[in-house]
Structures are given as C-alpha cells and as structure tokens.
C-alpha cells in the first residue's frame, strides 16, 4: 500500500475565521492526503501534541490575528524539543511581507498569502516533505 501524506491543519491564536483553513483542507484531501483538522483557537502545545499523536508529516498553520511572529515559531520550537524537526511546518493567512523573512529564519518553511492557488500548496508539500 502506498504511504499517505498526513497533514495537520490548525489555527493557532484567537481569530475565529477558518474559511481559508477549510479550503486548504479540502484541496489537500482532493490531492489524496489525509488531513486532520484540529479547528480554531489552538495553542502551540495542542497543535504539537496532535502532530505527534497523529504521526503527521506536515503541520499547516493558518492565522489572521497578527500573532504569527509569536505563535508560528513556538510551534517549530516545541516540535524540535520533542525531536520532531522532521515535520514540515508552513503557514498561511494574513501575514505582512516584511514578517516572512523572520518566520523563515525561525523554521517556517513557507508562507502563503491570500490568493495563493491551492495547487501551489499541494505541490509545495509534495516537493518539501522531510520524512521518507
């Protein structure tokens, strides 16, 4: 049997808008991936535990509240603490261009802004998976 790509789609922070996250979840599903949707208002700790328990290959974070500079790096940091740096982490949402270099320096593999074609995200995952 082929190995399935497992993706956690999570919304850290306090904004209550998950349309984008759901669209991404659908697109990844249609690309044959297994998407674990963890829902709104997740702490980095909850997201990381979900990623570990679910044996995820990818963590996709969506945020619109502006707290990305704090919450995104925290997820990467916690994964590293748990010895799970082989999980690919990327983000999306409303994130100013100027913040992207900082996020990338903190281990966020990519940041997708509004209007990114879903196929771009699918391709990104397929080419950047860190786990065999």
């Amino acid at each position: 049997m082929e190995r399935k790509i497992r993706v956690i789609v999570a919304k850290p922070g306090l904004d209550g808008h998950d349309r984008g996250a759901k669209v991404i979840a659908r697109a990844l599903r249609d690309a044959g991936m297994e998407v674990i949707y963890t829902g709104l208002r997740q702490t980095p700790e909850q997201i990381v535990q979900a990623a570990l328990q679910e044996d995820a290959d990818v963590v996709a974070l969506s945020i619109l509240s502006g707290a990305h500079n704090h919450l995104f790096p925290r997820v990467v940091e916690l994964l590293k603490e748990k010895g799970a740096e082989d999980i690919l982490v990327f983000g999306g949402g409303v994130i100013p261009e100027d913040d992207i270099p900082f996020l990338k320096s903190k281990g966020i593999a990519e940041v997708f802004g509004p209007g990114t074609p879903t196929q771009t995200t699918v391709d990104f995952i397929k080419t950047h998976l860190k786990r065999s």
Binding site: L28, Y37, Q46, L52
Partner: protein, 355 residues
C-alpha cells in the same frame, strides 16, 4: 528497527506508537510481524466501540467520556475513524476537533484513522492499532466508527462493549426494528436528549429490545406477533416498562436488557451515568465469562477477514492482474462462466501458482 519500535511502544512512547500505527495502516508486513511483541499485553484494555449515524454526537460524547474515564484514573486512547474519499483517496479527519481539549493530557492519546476503502465503519488497521495502544499501557481504548447507516457493523468484531448512539428525529419505530446496526448495541444512548422526541426514541428502542428478548426466550409462539406488537404499542404509550398493563408476555427483568440512556453530550448531561454503566458492564462481562467468549468470537471474525485480505495480497503479489485479464477474456468470449473463472482464480492463488 521494527523490534526496537515495538519495544518503544511497550514503553508507552507516543511517537513510536504513532509511527507503528502508520506502518500498520500502510500495510507494512514487517510491522505486522513485529506485533508478536505485543502478545503479553493482548486483552489488557477495555475496548469500547462508539457508533451511530453522522452528526449524532459521537465525537462530542467521546470527548466527554474521556473526561469521565480520566476522572477514574484510567489512561485513555481513542481511535477515531472517518471516511476516505473513494475518488482521491484523501480524507478529512475531523473527529479530533471535538477532543482537542485533551490533547496535552499525557494520559490521553488520540489518533484519527481514515477508512481507506473499508465499508464496515472501521479501517483494516483498526483492530491492530488497538493492540498497539493496549501495549502502550492505555486502560481503555475507545473506537469511534465512521458515521454509520444501517449495516456498518464491523465494530462488533473489535469492541468488548458497543455503545450505539441515536438522536431524535431520524425516523419512526420501523427504523428501530430493522436488521443491522440496531442489533449490535450493548448500551443504547439517545443523545441530544434535550430535543423534542427524545423520550419517544427511548421508548421505541426499549420496545424493540423487549420484543427481541421475548423472541430470544422462545415466547413468540404463545405470545404471537400481534401480542408483541400490542406490547410494543403499550410501551410507546406508557413509556415505563412497569407502568404498562400486564400482557401475555411476562415481565422481562430490566437488568437483562441493554440499557437505554439519555445524554446531552454538549453539556455533559448523563455522561457520568453512561461512563459508570460502561465500566460496570465491562466488569460484569469479565466476571461472568461473557467477555472471554465475546473475544473469542471477535478473533474468529477477524481471522476470516484477515485471511480474505491475505488472499487479495497474494493476488496482487503473484501478478494476479495478468491472470485476471486472461480469465476475464475467457468469460467475455463465453468460453468460461464467471463463477467457474472465479473458482479457478482462487484455486490458483491458494496453490501459489503463477499465471
């Protein structure tokens, strides 16, 4: 690597458990072989099945039950199954969403599985994943099935105790007496019991259970179907079994019937009672020996499934498609009938002959 991974599972290491379950899902045969390491822990956990239609509140109920069992000092693992797309093979696994409050509790492990083409409400790997979780030291393993319709009853082959969740508003009492899903509940729950019609569903299920018990006790000849229907009707009108006027059927002791309980999972109402009932049911089955005989029949049912899957694997391994092509041609050109061709195909596989 596999033996090491199995050892780490026995130590309760979360990442190892997660990895092992994935290997089972992907059909890795070396992982299946390594499962012999779990022989000594087999049967240690209580395996609880939660099943019912989509949207009946299984995940929310599971979330609340986790809380109850944690309060009883039990370590809890959850396997939540959701359907895979028959088109893309992908899935959205959304049961975990309702249980994320327990994500950071080290005494709780939650794992979402996609059904991956299985139609019985579980995935192929589910029964095996249970063995891994019990090896990792979880006292209770809750399996939440996909949202089921009328006939997805694989859960009965895996669970020690099945909780069947119903909700008001799904149909009349004929739905309740249909064959299939309504036959497998050990404990019946009417969730969303704050909605209109909940008491009616409780009465319908209770009437169904009483009828079933009467039939099982061989009372049907003297009672006759009309009397049974009458009795059901009485129950529908009066609700309480005790309040109904005496009929030809003798009183059936309430305790031998599966309980029908009301819950409002959203608020947690009725959950402690349900949790206590689940634990006492398990304990009772263990003492009476019912648990072991049930587990034996589970093993029988699973053995049959696994043998069938192995046959299909053998088919794939032996370049079965080529053989299939030639047999299909033969059927298509009417030189062989399809039943005979299928028999030939199976015979070839079992002998391990190449096409």
């Amino acid at each position: 690597m596999y033996e090491d991974l199995a050892r780490r599972c026995l130590d309760g290491e979360v990442r190892a458990v997660a990895r092992f379950v994935s290997l089972l899902e992907d059909g890795d045969r070396r992982a299946y072989n390594a499962m012999s390491a779990f022989a000594s822990t087999m049967g240690k956990a209580q395996i609880l099945g939660i099943t019912g239609p989509p949207g009946s509140g299984k995940s929310t109920l599971t979330d609340k039950l986790i809380g109850y069992f944690r309060g009883q000092e039990k370590k809890v693992a959850v396997i939540a199954v959701d359907p895979s797309s028959p088109f893309s093979g992908g899935a959205i696994l959304g049961d975990r969403l309702r249980m994320q409050g327990h994500a950071v509790d080290p005494g709780v492990y939650i794992r979402s599985l996609a059904s991956r083409g299985q139609l019985g409400g579980l995935s192929k790997a589910t029964a095996f994943a249970v063995r891994v979780l019990e090896a990792a030291g979880y006292d209770i393993v809750i399996i939440e099935t996909v949202g089921v319709g009328q006939s997805e009853i694989d859960i009965v082959k895996v669970a020690d105790t099945v909780v069947l969740v119903s909700v008001p508003g799904l149909g009349d009492d004929i739905q309740v007496i249909k064959a299939g899903i309504m036959e497998i509940g050990d404990i019946f729950v009417v969730n969303k019991a704050d909605r209109d019609g909940a008491d009616r569903v409780v009465r319908e299920i209770r009437a169904m259970l009483e009828t079933q018990a009467a039939l099982k006790r061989g009372k049907s000849p003297s009672a006759g179907p009309d009397t049974l229907a009458l009795r059901s009707a009485e129950l529908l009108h009066h609700g309480q079994t005790g309040a109904a006027p005496s009929s030809q059927i003798e009183q059936i002791e309430a305790e031998e019937l599966p309980p029908v309980m009301k819950t409002v999972a959203e608020t947690g109402e009725g959950v402690p009672e349900l949790g206590a009932r689940i634990l006492s049911r398990f304990e009772g089955d263990r003492l009476s020996g019912a648990l072991e005989s049930r587990r034996l029949s589970s093993i029988k049912a699973q053995l049959k499934d696994i043998a069938a899957w192995q046959l299909l694997d053998l088919f794939a391994d032996s370049g079965g498609d080529g053989r299939l092509d030639s047999l299909a041609e033969a059927v298509h050109s009417r030189s062989m009938d399809i039943y005979g061709a299928a028999k030939k195909l199976t015979a070839t596989l079992v002998k391990g002959e190449q096409a």
